[in-house]
Symmetry: C3
Subunit: 338 residues, 3 copies
């Protein structure tokens, strides 16, 4: 399975890489080292020393310079060797360098050969507009194919069954769904009026009945942003709850994924003290309910091509299928260029 | 390695599948879900949901209807979709269905394309004739190739070495052995008269010397039934112990096996209170002595073709070799038809 | 990856195989059983029973005769079957036999088809000349490619970084290095005069400054002997410390290695009571510092051909590279003959 190269991968939350520090993470099969200098600038280079293939993440980092733990060769943030204790700095002594951007409190990584275009970074400025203590952020690791993790968010009817006692109960399935292409994005919207809300939403609102609007917008390879509006019947435009959450699925390997989320809402912004509880709820839903299912699907598929297994397609899959087809088209385009 | 398809696999003991319940088990590489309705009827279907490949065994079952845990699609015992909460029931929304039969207190599974013939089910009616509390039954899982597990029973001389202090000591090796074909069955019989009995048998009989008759009859793919007669010298026809045990080796994967056994004897029928102790002894002999050896052999063979390794053949292998050749011939026949 | 066959592998320290006992160990992919008779003679045979591929190491051994745990077939030290309880001893009932030699308190194994030449056994008679209680010997298992473990010793500049607080600090890198071929051996020598000694050496000598001579001689496939001379400035010829250490890297599989070492020095010979402490220090340096690095490199290389990864070559690699090239040439020669 090839990974998309000419795209931005959300590789880390900004705070995962301390000033003057570094962090190693495998992204789309590539071992990458993220380095932040004392001024806060971030860069990404290959994490494998070209001399004897030592993982540089086992080494040390100071003022933006990484020292290989094995023989002390030092590289700067551009991947240039700045010190070879054992002789001249040959042309082979360099690390592959990758473009990065820090935006929306996240580090974005470009693995491709084309010139990176920062306009292609997903617009998650809702994060920037939210006070840091009201951002419910997280990182979770999953033993699942990232495309199954995209499917999972693009078809939220699963919440009715997998999260029946919190986010489910039936309203997601009953809701009117509309999936559509918006240029290179895929948008799916569910609406339900004067309906029985999900248990957690009913509790938040203090009302069993309500109006519900849920929209997810996907862009390649695994970036999704979700807006939920919630109100007592008839008040969707004027009152109730408004939340925005990004769900980003960054492949680590063919069968494992980095899952980044950031949830914001007017409720948490008004009462940042509830943020830890909301975060615990989101983590539990994923870790206890989604993660075992997604890992089980990944094992059952066992590396086979998804389409070769002839999955039964449902109307509720429309968003997920449009996203998979868009991704397949982008991969085919890169394959044709290669 | 292909598995035989047009044959009956013992897939479970009947009591493993509760009324109104279900059980998932991989049989000969196939993920199968066994369902029992409220009337006690059992059926078998593919355990993989055709929508997103969720394992249905992670779901729930009620009145013979299975609900996928992921999106709530429901299937009946014939594999027919009876409810799709997300739209019409398309032709793709069905589970592959397998023939089953419940006989001799076991669930038998047919994976092949040919019409199943219930006359091909091994005749283990000794189980039916035995009171339930006198049936010493068990299920054990093993990390071994099922054909090595067949070899193990078809050549009981191993007991003299691997189970030296219980079922061994030399009598199995000293016994006169005769292996022969009986239509599509392979029969091997050991007899020893007025000989030093195995430690456990000497203890049961209260006599070091005795007469010993031990017969195993194999039929494809891994079904064996064993009769042991035991007496003080000269009394084999008139007195002593008579036991019947089936040993069934059902492949799970190429390197793991479901082992089902049911031991009966006049001694246990007369004193069912000894059944738990007899069962503990059989389980210990397998788990502590056979299982580590069979798993070690499987790792050492490491997926190679058995015959390509040119095993040294002994006269005591005759039954095992006849059984392997019969199985190879049946597999070749299926391969030629495919 | 093929292993060199026509060479001597250090397979065990002599004391690992008790008189009248046996030991199983995988050497260069081959499962080998080492047997010692009551007179102390050692032999090596295939550890796999030719009957049903049972690992003979799970069996028993007495007076140089091994009994298979599964069916009691017995083999002598030449691999000849000396007892088959189940019938005649056919020509297939034999174990492949390997040449061995016991020398320098180690068991050497020859896996090749050519006639073994004991003159090819590395000359480690410094072990014989050292009193047993002054030999700092050890065996360590490593999840690393043995060739990376050879590189590690052939380029001791790594000590300055990986063992900075004990054997490093900079002197190994500052030292003048000379690598050269000596027939089929590769010799690398580091010398530093009146220089800042490594922390451990400074402590031993009671002087921060000193003279340092460090020589490693390699011969195929993974045999190395190291001599270190150490003195206060200007006294290298007349006073100070003199040590000899062999480091032998014997492949187990493509990604795991048996590491044998024996360290001797005039200091330990004079005070054998310090041997346990010296041994603990050597084990800790390897287990805590080298082993994690070597295993990480092996995982990162992931089975790829080393040269295909185009490693950056440094002047300090000269010894390691000469050794790899010599090994590659020997392997090519064996491949051409095969």
């Amino acid at each position: 399975m090839p990974f998309l190269k000419n795209c931005w991968y959300l590789a880390a939350w900004g705070e995962e890489i301390p000033a003057g520090g570094m962090m190693a993470r495998q992204i789309a099969g590539e071992h990458v080292l993220f380095i932040r200098d004392d001024d806060g600038n971030v860069a990404a280079v290959s994490e494998t020393c070209p001399h004897r293939f030592a993982p540089l993440g086992m080494g040390s980092c100071s003022h933006g310079v990484v020292t290989c733990p094995y023989h002390g060769i030092r590289f700067d943030m551009a991947g240039k060797c700045v010190e070879n204790p054992h002789g001249p700095i040959s042309s082979a002594l360099k690390l592959k360098s990758f473009s990065t951007a820090e935006r929306h409190s996240a580090i974005w990584l470009w693995l491709g050969d084309e010139n990176p275009d920062e306009n292609m970074i997903p617009n998650y400025d809702f994060i920037d507009r939210t006070a840091p203590d009201a951002r419910v952020k997280g990182y979770l690791h999953s033993r699942a194919d990232y495309r199954l993790m995209v499917d999972n968010i693009m078809d939220l009817t699963h919440a009715d069954y997998l999260h029946a006692t919190s986010l489910g109960g039936g309203i997601n399935t009953r809701a009117k769904a509309q999936a559509e292409r918006d240029n290179d994005k895929i948008k799916i919207t569910w609406t339900a009026m004067n309906d029985q809300l999900a248990p957690l939403h009913a509790q938040i609102l203090g009302s069993d009945l309500g109006d519900f609007y849920n929209q997810v917008i996907w862009e390649a390879p695994g970036n999704m942003v979700q807006r939920i509006l919630l109100s007592r019947p008839g008040q969707l435009e004027t009152a109730g709850m408004d939340s925005l959450t990004c769900h980003v699925m960054t492949p680590e390997t063919e069968a494992s994924t980095h899952y980044f989320f950031c949830h914001t809402s007017d409720a948490v912004s008004a009462h940042p003290e509830i943020a830890p509880g909301v975060r615990a709820g989101l983590v539990a839903a994923f870790a206890d309910e989604d993660a075992p299912m997604l890992a089980a699907q990944t094992r059952r598929i066992a590396g086979a091509d998804f389409w070769s297994l002839k999955p039964a397609l449902l109307p509720s899959d429309k968003g997920a299928v449009l996203a998979r087809r868009e991704l397949d088209a982008l991969l085919a385009k890169e394959g044709a260029m290669a």
